[in-house]
Every structure is written in C-alpha cells, then in structure tokens.
Amino acid sequence: MSAALALPTRKDEAFRYADLAALAPLWPVAVQEIRVAAGETGALAITANADAAEAREIVITLDEGASFDLRVLNAGHGYGRIAVTAVLGKGASFHFGAAQLGGGDQTLEIVTEVRHMAPDAVSRQVVRSVLGGHATGTYLGRVHVARGAIGTDGEQSIRAMLLERTATANARPELEIYADDVKCAHGCAVGELDPMGLFYLQSRGLPPGEAKKLMLHAFIAEAFVGAPEAEGLTETALAALEGLL
C-alpha cells in the first residue's frame, strides 16, 4: 500500500518531466474512473485553469463498440498534469483532443496511455501546446496494441509552438505493438510561428500581437475540432493566450 502512495520519482518514465515539488502536496491523485458500456457513447471536457497546481488522473474503459470523446484544456497558472489511460474493447473508439498553454516557469504535462486490447478499435489523439517564457510543456503518449488486436487504427498528432526560445517542449509519442495488421501513425513537431505568415497578416493591417493571436487561435482550435464544447473551450483557451502574449 505504501508503494502505491509513494510519490513517484523521475526514474518513473511517466513522471520524467514532472514538477515533483508541486505534485507532492497533491499526491496521491484520486483516480477518476469512467466506463462506457457496449455500444454507448460518452464525452467529457475538462478545463484546468486554476491559479493553484492541479493534477488529474482519468481511467476510461470502453466496452465493445463504445465511444468516448475527451477534450482537455490544460491552461492553469501553476503546475498542471493530466494523465489519461484509455482501455479500448473491440471496435471501440476514443477521441482525445488537448491543448496546453503555459508561460513563466510553469510545467504542464499530458500523459496518455491508450490500450487497444481487442480488434478494430480506433484512437485519435491531437495535442497542441503553446509555450512562452521558461515554461515546459510535455506530452508523453503510449499507444499499446495487445496481441490479437488486429485492425487497430491509432493516430497521434502532436505539435508544440514555442513563443520564446527559452520555453521547452517535450513530445514523446510511443507505439508498442504486439499484433499484426494494425495501422498506427504518429506525427510530432515543435516549432515557432511562421514568420512569413506573420508578416503577411501584418502587411494587411494586423498589429503583431493580433497576427500572432490569429495564427495561434487556429493552431489551438485543431485540438477541439468536432467537440460539442469546441467554441467554449477555444474561447477559454484564447483568454489564457492573452496572458501569454
């Protein structure tokens, strides 16, 4: 029991980039468990934008043919950690869209593990990070495909935008595949706003801050496309963005 309650160390891969000092008072983190019965549909949108440190752990189990849409805005003012484990049954579908926005010397992280346990399940992950100052934004995402989970279709699209070169983005999409005939893809990029795009927008009359905001808005919105709460999430994200620019 004490082992489960002990604060993890950086040797633990899932906590390699965590702000352990900020995590300590929150530990152990209560696990929020969600189960979607066969053929059912569920959705959840989480906005983490508190002033204090926040850590969440969510475990989602999808039975045969179930689907779940999870959206996360990780944009608090302190440490923010959101860990998600999704266990996918036969033909289940899991959609995860997350944006994280941070500045100062904040640490933000999203850690996912998607377990394709049976054939024909689909998972989609889109994570967009915008980081300024000396902030660190991390995405650790493992897609596990169990033996026999043929027909698996897993996709990870991970992108981070650095507003300043002092910010850090860690992105580690991982595939662990024990089945044949699966389709898993991941794309990962860390970059800065396209200077030519910024100049183009400014040449039409947008001040630099507005031009950046317009481009970042589009970047962040990719995480919330298709969500029932897309508009609300994007608006809250934009408000957080104001604080970074």
């Binding site: 009359g205 947008l206 001040p207 507005e210 481009m215 808005h217 589009a218």
Partner: protein, 247 residues
Amino acid sequence: MLKIDNLQATVADKPILKGLSLQINAGEIHAIMGPNGAGKSTLGYTLGGRPGYEVTGGSVDFDRQDLLALEPYERAAAGLFLGFQYPVEIPGVSNLQFLREALNAQRKVHGEEPLSGAAFIKLAKEQAGLLRFDMDMLKRPVNVGFSGGEKKRAEMVQMGILAPKLAILDETDSGLDIDALRIVGEGINAIMRKPDKAVLLITHYQRLLDYVQPDFVHVLAGGRIVKSGGPELALQLESEGYEAVAA
C-alpha cells in the same frame, strides 16, 4: 503620393537596392520591369517592411509620412497594399475572419468604428463579385489549397476590401492563365484606377500591361532605376530585351 529617394537596402548583409529613386503621384500607374535578380521583389518587401530587409540609406515619403519609420501594420493603415508574388498560406484562419480583423484594425488606427459583420459581408461579396471569386472560397483558410491563379485573385479581393491608396503588386500576373489575367487586370483597374490612388506594378512581362496600361515604365537593373519612359518602353523591352534597352 510616394517619393523614394536614393533608397539602399540589404538582405542578409548583401546590398540589393543601390540608390533607387522613384516618384509616384496620385492617379498614376507605374510599372517596374527588370531582369531576375535586379531587386524588384526586394523593392516591394522593403516598402512593405518585411523583417530582414534592412534599409541602409535613403528615404521614402508616403503621403507626407516617413514610411520607413512605420511598422508593417501601420504602413497598411496608412494606405499601402503589397501584393505578394507568392501569397502565404495561413492554415486554419479563414479569409473572411482575417480580412474583417485586418480591416477593423486599420479602421481603429483611423479612429473609426469597426465594421459590423453584416456590412463586412456585403463589402466582401461586392469585391469577390468584381474578381468573380467564389464567396465560399473566402470562407476557407487563407490561400490554403488555392491554385496559383486563385491566390492572385484572392489577393485582389483583399485589395478591394482594404481599399488602399497605393498598391505595390509584385508579379501579380505570374501563375495566371489568359482568362484570369484579364479578370485580375480588370480588377486592378476597377479598384485602383482613380484620381486619389496609385499603383506600382512589378512585372517581368508586357502581358499584364495590355490590361492595366501604365503611365510610366521603369527599368530596374542592378538595384537602381536605369531607364524610365512611357508605355512604349515596355513594348521595346519585350521586343529587344533588357540588356539591349538598359545598357
């Protein structure tokens, strides 16, 4: 309206413009022609204020303002429009949203109220119609997935909406087929051929000038204007080549 005096500019420390002088008055259409590498695009970007295009000498007066002291967005608000040779794609940002924000940002500089959504859509429809540009395409992200010709027509729609005093159009004719060339040419005339406006066309070829007849033609070579004349100069260049004419 625009007075460029002995302008010198470098790109990555390499001198490109080497003492360029040019005056454009309201109501005039000028064309600058010249061989590759003469500094034509550099002139456009320098006047637009693109980062990395460093002015090392000379002055540019635009409507009694020191153009070179203004930020790119302030130049736009002052009435300058730069048509890009390669219009930039901005994923995720719709043309209409971008143009409405850009127009309202310009209005704000002038102390004017923002245009309402309805008034903006009406304006956009008018201008798109002029260029026979599909309104549905204006709902799509800026230039993303547009063909070369569509990008150029979209730029002219932008110009119509933003209603600049001076348009500097950098190879607006490149990538256009014959029909699109005519539509774009007519668009430039409809939007810009007015007593209080002026145009600087930067082009390689005579063909755009068949539709938008210039009052003055200049030859740019080696970073300066080496010859100026009337529309007949463009025809002479077309038949004899830059080397013969500019020598």
